[in-house]
Amino acid sequence: MSLGSVPLKYKISIDRDQCMKCMRCVDNCSYGVYRIEDDRIIIDSRKCTACHRCISMCPRDAIMLKERPVDYRSHPLWTVEAREDVINQARTGKIILAGMGNAVDYPIIFDRLVLDACQVTNPSIDPLREPMELRTYIGKKPSKLEFTKNNGDIELTTKLTPNLKLDTPIMVGHMSYGAISLPAQLSIAKAVAKTGTFMGTGEGGMHEAIYPYQDHSIVQIASGRFGVDIDYLERGAAIEIKVGQGAKPGIGGHLPGEKVCADVSCTRMIPLGSDAISPAPHHDIYSIEDLAQLVRSLKEATDWEKPVFVKIAAVHNVAAIAAGIARSDADAVVIDGFKGGTGAAPKVFRDNVGIPIEAAIAAVDQKLNDQGIRNEVSIIASGGIRNSGDLAKSIALGADAIYIGTAALIALGCRVCGNCYRGLCPWGIATQKPELVERIDPEVGAQNVANLIHGWTLELSELMGAAGLNSIESLRGNRERLRGYMLDQGLLDVLKVESVGA
């Protein structure tokens, strides 16, 4: 017996009095919602993903979109989503694939942390006229500095390891060419160069269009080693080993063959149309000692001139893992929380595996401090950071800097419709279709992303000034500037944050 179909998710309608039949909706929808019949625009709402491309391109604001116009019998346990997932899997017997970040309504810890501000007894700082030090260095720091005097000159004898110099503690995380389009990646590259920060190339190699921005790029290697050769490693300002990803801890990456067009195959150095499979384990890493060997081999290949990061998903044992990474010669540990985005993940992983980034940062910072090795490794936090408030709280919990991903895509037009894995992104971001890709002008995209970074940086300065801090180093790990609001004692203990009023 057939299960039939589930109701449509979105209902599109057109105000026919407003519509002037310019057909932009037809032209812009890559999912085929609109078509022309007898000079009339016909709508197939079932195909809609709520990407909002048609709405934003309509010159008359004539298009309306409503979510889920058909109700099921309400039930607290068997939600609409639970029922529809069962129907979907009963019909196909397959793993449900999903895009973007965790879509379950977990409480967001960031929203239950509040920042401090000065009032009477200590002065706040006005960033309009006082210098605010937001420069951040990512990499190992010596536990002490030693100097020698030489005929009156003082020379530093401590050997410093290479660090990345960031003008703002906001970087753009790894989104590969393949997962996103070249103009999208180029927009980000131009934006980080403008704002004095860095972007990740993802595990897809580096397209030659990014070469002019390579000094602002962190090259990534994953288990599949796509696009990795000695030239690639030497191009990056830093190298990142991807072990895990917040959206899908414990599983690997997989770029489907249909996204491996000629240019992507050239950049990844794999045949046209073949799958690019990076399974979860690096098969040369089975221990921290093995990880140390990979870290050292990357440093050895680049003559110990580049910092090496290790990215892991935020999981239950993250603090102990990070402590191991700190001892592996890595210069930074990247922790990706369970709200992190992705182009494609099994839905069951995206929505159920991992822990929130807030708890992970605090636990890692505390563990490294307790072991006296916090200076051995920088902490980069990512996964669901939405605004400068989240940024400031991340740093106060112990991060040195953050990666943004989804926020940068939204700055390029993304409306978080969650259909990235279909390769039909109407905004030209998560697609390789030439007619869609050309919808992004890298100059305009770069300005939008740069504006976002700049805006957050200004807000961070204001937040720090309000808290009486004029240096990012004074905010880092400063839990005294945070209070928990409606958080249970167990979580407050993990965060090492006191309750409001305390």
Binding site: L97, P271, H283
Partner: protein, 247 residues
């Protein structure tokens, strides 16, 4: 021809050793002889050029990692992952090698006279004219050619009947080919791998590789040009395409 550079590496750390190799290659030295090698990792790591590095002893892990061009000839065994992410050049090992030999190798050749460990040729891949070759004189352990995306793995099984007895051959393979002398039992094949007929054309195509391998180790190639092989290839270039449904 210039004199070879001879280095006694006894007790030497790998970093100064590699710096010496890089500087020598950059200054035009065509042959470097390393004596008393004992466990130094990353020899030849990221080195470019066309020099030859002779290694007397047992190098440590990741020999020739990211290497692009040189030839390393090892008179001894090698530890794990020689040829890891190698781009061009060759490794010739007069002995056995450990696990993950030729991991993600994307160009050049790795010839191992003896046996190799687990996951040989994992993630090997090819692109256009870069087609890596891993040739093994002896036998291999489980998961040979796992996630292989291109290139050639050749196992001659000298002194071993059958040449390979461990399971998981070609698990997740989606490109390239694995050629093993003699019969390979079906239950040894990994997910996504299939056996196809080994033809006269295949033998003709592989003859230069077999002859080169045998030439490197002074082995008579005749028995290997007059025998049967099993050829294992991907069942699909998209092995997991049917695993998912949309949200």
């Amino acid at each position: 021809m210039a004199e070879p550079l001879v280095i006694d590496v006894k007790g030497m750390h790998y970093t100064p050793l590699n710096r010496m190799i890089r500087e020598a290659v950059a200054s035009g030295v065509k042959e470097i002889v390393l004596n008393n090698v004992l466990g130094q990792r990353f020899i030849g790591n990221g080195v470019r050029g066309d020099s030859k590095i002779i290694i007397n002893g047992v190098p440590g892990g990741d020999l020739g990692m990211f290497m692009s061009g040189p030839e390393c000839e090892v008179f001894g065994n090698a530890e794990h992952a020689p040829g890891n992410t190698m781009d061009r050049g060759s490794l010739v090992i007069h002995g056995n090698a450990g696990d993950a030999v030729a991991h993600s190798m994307r160009g050049g050749k790795v010839f191992v006279e003896g046996n190799i460990g687990y996951r040989g040729g994992i993630h090997m891949k090819e692109y256009e004219d870069k087609r890596p070759i891993l040739a093994v004189g002896g036998t291999t352990h489980a998961f040979l050619g796992e996630y292989m995306a291109g290139g050639l793995i050749l196992v001659l099984g000298i002194g071993h009947e059958p040449a390979v007895e461990d399971r998981g051959i070609g698990s997740g393979i989606h490109g390239g080919e694995i050629v093993i002398r003699g019969e390979v039992s079906d239950e040894l094949l990994g997910v996504g791998a299939k056996k196809v007929d080994f033809t006269e054309d295949d033998l003709k195509r592989l003859t230069p590789v077999i002859e080169e391998f045998c030439g490197r180790f002074d082995i008579d190639p005749t028995p290997f040009l007059n025998t049967n092989y099993s050829r294992i290839v991907p069942a699909s270039a998209r092995p997991f395409a049917g695993k998912y449904t949309w949200e």
